[in-house]
Assembly symmetry: C3
Homo-oligomer: 442 residues x 3
Amino acid sequence: MTEKDSGIARRMLLRVPAVGAAAAGLAVLSGQRAASAKAAKPPTVYDVTTWTHSTNPAITCYTDIGALINDIIADIKKLQPNQSSKPGAVIYIPPGDYPLKTRVTVDVSYLTIRGDGHGFASSSIRYNAGDTSAWHEIWPGGSRIRVENTDGHSEGFLVSRSGEPRLSSVVFDNFCLDGLSFTPNQNSYANGKVGIRVDTANDAFRIERMGFVYLERGLVIRDADALSVHGNFIAECGSCVELIGSGQASKVTDNHIGAGYIGYSIFAEQHQGLLIAGNNIFPRGKSLIHLRNTNRSSITGNRLHGFYPGMLDSDGANKENLISGNHFRREPEPWGPMQPYNNGKDDLYGVIHLRGDGNMVTGNLFAYDVPPAKITPSGAKPTIILVASGHNNHLSNNGLVSNVAANAVVLDGSTLGTKVIDSATSSQFVAYTSDYTFRATP
Amino acid sequence: MTEKDSGIARRMLLRVPAVGAAAAGLAVLSGQRAASAKAAKPPTVYDVTTWTHSTNPAITCYTDIGALINDIIADIKKLQPNQSSKPGAVIYIPPGDYPLKTRVTVDVSYLTIRGDGHGFASSSIRYNAGDTSAWHEIWPGGSRIRVENTDGHSEGFLVSRSGEPRLSSVVFDNFCLDGLSFTPNQNSYANGKVGIRVDTANDAFRIERMGFVYLERGLVIRDADALSVHGNFIAECGSCVELIGSGQASKVTDNHIGAGYIGYSIFAEQHQGLLIAGNNIFPRGKSLIHLRNTNRSSITGNRLHGFYPGMLDSDGANKENLISGNHFRREPEPWGPMQPYNNGKDDLYGVIHLRGDGNMVTGNLFAYDVPPAKITPSGAKPTIILVASGHNNHLSNNGLVSNVAANAVVLDGSTLGTKVIDSATSSQFVAYTSDYTFRATP
Amino acid sequence: MTEKDSGIARRMLLRVPAVGAAAAGLAVLSGQRAASAKAAKPPTVYDVTTWTHSTNPAITCYTDIGALINDIIADIKKLQPNQSSKPGAVIYIPPGDYPLKTRVTVDVSYLTIRGDGHGFASSSIRYNAGDTSAWHEIWPGGSRIRVENTDGHSEGFLVSRSGEPRLSSVVFDNFCLDGLSFTPNQNSYANGKVGIRVDTANDAFRIERMGFVYLERGLVIRDADALSVHGNFIAECGSCVELIGSGQASKVTDNHIGAGYIGYSIFAEQHQGLLIAGNNIFPRGKSLIHLRNTNRSSITGNRLHGFYPGMLDSDGANKENLISGNHFRREPEPWGPMQPYNNGKDDLYGVIHLRGDGNMVTGNLFAYDVPPAKITPSGAKPTIILVASGHNNHLSNNGLVSNVAANAVVLDGSTLGTKVIDSATSSQFVAYTSDYTFRATP
């Protein structure tokens, strides 16, 4: 054993509770083993329930998991000082209830933070249920972090690093971030809390199998490259997934997602080649998907269920996106506690509100069912697809089932060169421009 | 350390084998550690190979993993008595062969039962192979539970709880449920065994990366909300996935699935907003997907391969579903041992047999290749899509390749207002009703 | 305890470092426990950092993880001699840097090799970045295996077994295979290295959440049945996924994939019922998807971004495949270091180059943006879909946005019976045959 290895082994011995640390794969070295463990290297698997804080042992995962994880990250950086070998580590969070008082700052690549349970349960149903004293349980669970910052920050987790290269391959896997409550009331979706904010450019990140609940903003990622947001359960958050700044070659796939009426289920800004596919996106969401200056991206094979106009919304100039094979179900809010709220848009806004050029909208089915009395403006014939601006958009082979006469396609007066093919009967089509091509659905 | 924590630590010490329990992440506390482990909480990670049954140590995972898991669940409930903190637990099943004699009853939320290997192997091939004495192995493997109930129950796992709230976030992950054999013969798909039955309303469940083999019914889930069935291998079962009762906002995605001729690969009853996407569904299956009174759901981007008519079947009234981008391959049974069997339907039944209103069938490719001698009734011109009942269905842009002249679309006399657009040439279209719209594929 | 169990327990005691082996779930038995551990069975969870090589303790995961894993596999085979119970095992690779000098040979079913981090980082960016002395880190990470064979073999992992049955349910999960460098220069994509080669028929394999980087060939699988390649990050490899020989009922879904200009991002040979869906396939790739004699397969809902013609390529005779709902973005190489390279094809070759019969190409969006000066042959009107051979292909409802006049569809003189429906305007269509059907996009 080299002196260096030996030193590390001793240091770990002092700082890690020996038996408990073995839980979940932490390779703890004991004195008598060190002699024979020629291969010994610093451990890379950490368990929050057994890690002893380096300077203040009173800090545990049960008093402040945020401060504790920051201490673990400091240890990782200390043990991996060499530019040429920084494999990262895993921080394991067994099922349990953990308060987070201090924001975690992740500034190392190849860090996986992994739990053993996304733990989603509906807090919305519970808060609106009245007397729950006889309930089996009242909170979300699994590997559950209660986001209760007392440090003046809004985020549970901040991922950020300056310098080169950008952070790579940080993974959040299979735990629960719970914002606990909203203010001023439990149906406001507001509490200023952010589950995870990635604030600097990043590559090959994965957000997988997580649960997010009762956060004003669940997941906010700036400048993503080759991001994967897959298999998560993100619901009852003001906004769920916000891809801000810019981004490319990313995907948001196979998630359960449903935001509050104040925010976005999925928002994408200045992305290229984003793939939003196979998600089950349920109410509510000010919009379910919102594109801003996002180009050459795909919204494919999703199921969308919304209670307001603008289910798929956009602003700015969005170019050459493919919106295909999605199911759009629009009906009014059925649940009493949420009926006071909406997104302020009327039924002329479009179930799809499209701004941009060269987009293709094809093979989608719209199932619209809003009682006439709930359609706004009163007496309006609702719009399904509104091409609100832009040129050379291509709408083809879309289907509509509606309980009322509706305009399947409406073209704004500013639009140019839209092709509308087999997407509206003659009586379902309105153009405020003369620059378009129309072939009516027979 | 509080007295309460101390008490728990001591109790665990007595009941959990100390070293072995550390396997797979069980945070075991030993006496000398307890004093310094101020953060100590009851463990939430259980390993079936090291857990000692609380009342009868003769019961182990190698004698009856079902009784053992029930004992673990009882321990979870005992250690988490407080309504306000029930994070649940993980029960880990390392690779191994485990007999299940007693049905497991899961009645806690946030429980993950996790193995390390779906372990599928074809028992059908093996049973029909003749002499296998020289084979390397003959059974499925991985974290394999042999469903061998001697308790009078049919299920390996029953998930059920009365009272409020419904169970949330129970996860079955990455192990194998093997029903071992069928009776009266190995090609009957019958043995009365059910892998997992969820029998009460549930939210945010996940069934992931599992293997199911040789069960009469693999997975049966009643009243699912926001269920995810993802990444599983469910084959050589009578029926594979049955979503019964009712359900909403669920998804069955990215699975390998293939039932026997007696049952369903995927069955959905009274679901809303179900997303069946990206599955590779192979033979056989009485039907590959069967919808009953299921509405506003999507069947998108699947590959389906079947040996009988009615690959996508339906009964009742199914409304406003989107069936798009699927590949349907229909050929006759090629394998000798299974050639005696079929689902009793003839080729006029339709590769798709559609009952309901406002459904959209679009962008699918049908590759039909059945020798004339095997088409029934003899001499019939086979039907690809049969609209058997309902109004306002929309068939557009479907493709057909067939070895024989076939009717791409047939409309039953009871149907009203079907649109058939670019889905059949004139010679491939038959309507027994006069109430329809037809634009022939050029 | 039976004598046999006791013997096994003792043997393990001698060979496995006691405490460290408990890491990551290795069920180690100690002498004093054995008496009470009536359930004791050979362990099935191995940790590469604690395993002691059976004959040469100098071999560790830090000297040659390949030789070490081979020793573990030998142990699995020794401990599971019985044909009727071979559940397999898990080999766990914690985050770390591990050299592989000796090829691993996997010849047991139900083996999972699992890490804790795919660890992708761009080596291409780093190698072309100039001075990286100030970088935080310079290599990929996670559970990273450096493929550095000194044994004369080209593969990091070879999966191969003769006899019956074929191997089942081998799983590679969540680690990184890094080929380190290319020769003669870092932009050649050549080093002769293969990450994983499966060389004999196989069933129900899974390749999941892996990272592959800087290998000439990442993943090569022969004769796959019901394979799943899901959620991987496979980039900066000469070729990424090659499914060779033959195969059926497999899927390549939800991956990030991007090959070098010398190879394929996804290649499939003689497959039936392959589902390539929901992938984000980025540059470069001689082709992004290449089919050879592959039938009744689906390419659905992918995002493809390429820098050369032939993004979706084919040779041989490919029959009855469905190519739908994909987004094809074609632009010229924007990055200086790679601008010297291309795949040698010109813009008349087609973004899609299709050879075969009865294929359906529908609902795709092509976004073509190549400055005229970079189009070859000089002055050519580029081709988007070239039907290069075959009969009865069906192109419908495809959209095109292009910066230059382009031929959306070109039919070779050898083709017969192609239907071109709503996929090209009259000025975007060229047929060198008279045997076709054309309905112009209005």
